[in-house]
């Protein structure tokens, strides 16, 4: 028992990424960024919201190319296993993204409400000006 504790306490972070997994990660990251470019080109993704996705893609690529970065990250977080450090970071990143989408959604929902109200008031003004004309719905 004491031996295991000693080993756990003193161990350096272990990089468990094999060459194969690094290549797969790099290919995925590049494909991901190409997909974002294509979405922008087809006007399916607003440039305004693409920056954060590019940052995520570049971070993925950097992790695949320089696994030492991941080791530094694990050390900074005080985690012994690099994969856990990676997943923790990913989790925080996704949480942040989800929150920013909620903020964007709330703003747009407020804008939609205002638009609906303006339309409703416009309809009332129409009716006030032409009280006799029956409205075609």
């Amino acid at each position: 028992m004491p031996a295991i504790l000693a080993a756990a306490g003193g161990a350096e972070p272990v990089v468990r990424l094999t060459a194969q997994s690094r290549i797969i990660a790099a290919v995925l990251a590049i494909a991901f960024m190409l997909m974002i470019l294509e979405l922008i080109r087809r006007h399916k993704l607003h440039e305004r919201y693409s920056v954060i996705w590019f940052v995520a893609g570049i971070a993925m690529l950097a992790g695949a190319a320089f696994p030492d970065l991941l080791r530094l990250l694990a050390e900074a977080l005080g985690v012994r296993d690099v994969t856990i450090a990676l997943f923790s970071l990913l989790f925080v990143l996704l949480l942040g993204l989800a929150l920013s989408f909620s903020v964007i959604m709330s703003r747009q929902s407020a804008q939609i409400t205002r638009l609906a109200q303006e339309l409703a008031l416009e309809r009332a003004r129409d009716q006030a000006e032409n009280p006799d004309s029956s409205r075609g719905e």
Binding site: A116, Q117, A120, L121, R123, A124
Partner: protein, 240 residues
């Protein structure tokens, strides 16, 4: 004084014409606007046939957004008094006229019609709330009274009258979902004179409450969050 009475309505085709008729009788000089909150039935047609102006929201936006639409119309139409009541027949237009008189006399910036009466004064067709509704009422009453340091009995009442100051405030910011309770808190915290007037209300004549026990719990929880945040909202500058 130019007075607007607006009636937020969502699928109230059975009662809307009667409510409009009552308002016309009780407040003959007032303009009547029905804010149709994306109804899928004949609410808008019946309201127009009854002679009211109708502001139709293109889709259902919630009672708060509908009420704000009414306040916006009042503000832009240069009305001096703006009052509203529910479309389901619970509210008595004659009682609303008493609220309007309070605003005309400038005794308050905002008057709320409270359905809770002194004990021993009840009548047979008076409003009686069910259990989950009462629980929420007690909670809101307590929290709003603590927050505003003013005693309120009926924070969810949809029968109100306001002057231009409050029209301006509510046109700028009004919670789309938790309108009634939060607006009382906001009005007081923004320095408005808010008063309650005891009014008679009827059992709902048509339609039913959307509140099931589960929904009430959720509604109570959300409203509590909104009130907590509202307590720390910065004071708006007195405009214009």
């Amino acid at each position: 004084m130019r007075t607007l009475v607006f009636i937020p309505a969502w699928n109230e085709e059975r009662s809307i014409a009667d409510v409009i008729g009552d308002v016309r009788k009780a407040l003959p000089a007032a303009d009547v606007l029905v804010v149709d909150d994306g109804s899928t039935d004949a609410t808008a047609e019946r309201a127009r046939a009854a002679g009211a102006l109708v502001a139709s929201l293109p889709f259902n936006q919630g009672v708060g957004a509908a009420q704000q639409t009414g306040y916006m119309h009042g503000l832009r139409g240069d009305y001096e008094v703006c009052a509203h009541l529910d479309a389901d027949g619970q509210h008595i237009a004659g009682e609303l006229a008493r609220l309007v008189a309070e605003i005309e006399a400038d005794r308050a910036d905002m008057v709320i019609g409270s359905r809770y009466r002194e004990r021993g004064d009840a009548q047979d067709d008076d409003y009686r709330a069910n259990f989950s509704r009462r629980t929420g009422q007690h909670l809101f009453r307590l929290v709003v009274s603590l927050s505003t340091r003013q005693r309120f009995t009926d924070t969810t009442s949809g029968m109100r009258a306001v002057n231009r100051k409050v029209m301006r405030l509510f046109s700028d910011s009004y919670s789309p979902e938790f309108a009634e309770v939060e607006s009382v808190q906001q009005a007081v915290l923004q320095g408005m004179r808010v008063e309650e007037l005891q009014v008679r209300m009827l059992e709902r004549a048509e339609g039913r409450s959307f509140l099931t026990p589960l929904r009430s719990t959720y509604y109570i929880f959300k409203t509590m969050v909104v009130l907590l945040v509202g307590q720390f909202r910065p004071r708006l500058k007195e405009g214009r």
